[in-house]
Point group: C2
Chain length 207, copies 2
Amino acid sequence: MSVLPKSVKQVIEEFSKLPGIGPKSASRMAYHYLRSSNMDASKLANALLNMETNIKNCNKCFNVSESEECEICGSPLRKKGKICVVEEPLDVVAFEDSGVYDGVYFVLGGVISPSEGIGADELRFKELRKRAEELLLEEDSVEVIIATNPSLEGEATASYVIDIFKNLVKEGKVKITRLAMGLPTGADLEYADRLTLKKALEGRRDI
Amino acid sequence: MSVLPKSVKQVIEEFSKLPGIGPKSASRMAYHYLRSSNMDASKLANALLNMETNIKNCNKCFNVSESEECEICGSPLRKKGKICVVEEPLDVVAFEDSGVYDGVYFVLGGVISPSEGIGADELRFKELRKRAEELLLEEDSVEVIIATNPSLEGEATASYVIDIFKNLVKEGKVKITRLAMGLPTGADLEYADRLTLKKALEGRRDI
């Protein structure tokens, strides 16, 4: 890499910080712009600067948005009696792309992870509680659907969500549910891991 | 994707144009910047703009460079009697990283590829001939090492290089060589493809 001009090295360095991008891919990406005769590099640069300026968090669900209130929270078509609690904005995209959900969301901003120094204070638990109370002004009861990832951190985070709603659950105002765990569509039983099989067995249903 | 803010979509679109980056990776890359609280997005943006402003081609070998003459062409340590002809600037990086070459380079800017509409006129054959003549002012003879990729297009491009040096070769001023083909280090004979085995056999050497 010593032979590379400094300005190219800087671009490679920035690309390398991206998730899943190693030094080889980063060089290939930088060189793509050196080859293409058009203005693709400045197009990406301007798109990034534009995004940085325009994107804020929705003040209700904390999903990324260009306005104070995101399209989902602002839509009269979305059911306000269901709030799906996810870790990251990309999880909202996954649900929306699948088109299987008609309620609103709440983005926690991560998971509790002692190993990465992320405690409960770093996440939006207070805001989640506040948002549920807001929804309860319009709705008789609210279903909080916990949709954190099925990982250790996701589980710890889920317990914390259950905790903050303890009394609202007792009062019958909040109902907490979790996404089902089991075999994914198209899975091969033979290759399923032990925990998945255990969850699939525990969650078996009458037919 | 319909739920994404426009400015995020634009960044994803630009990332998707990069080689080896599909829509999923592009989203993950864009969201990386939405998550990180620091100024990484503008860092990449500024690095790209800076690169676009500062990078030109070396006027001797056409490798990327921040000055009129690149470090390699300008170095008194590099042998001027050997010129390694490559397709792209990244090929120069591969040679330099390996540290096995002490001559100079020439970047053709691609390969002849009728399917992509790239003919001989799009590549720097005239400039290559001119560069060799320049080197011949200082050197008695010049070795032109053809280092195009071992693909159909690379072969066609190699033939063209041989063609433009026909009379200089006859005059004994230019000698043309090609990179050896055969088994790569660490290869498994069992999995080697037919053409590689053929080339390895044809190129076998006495020991």
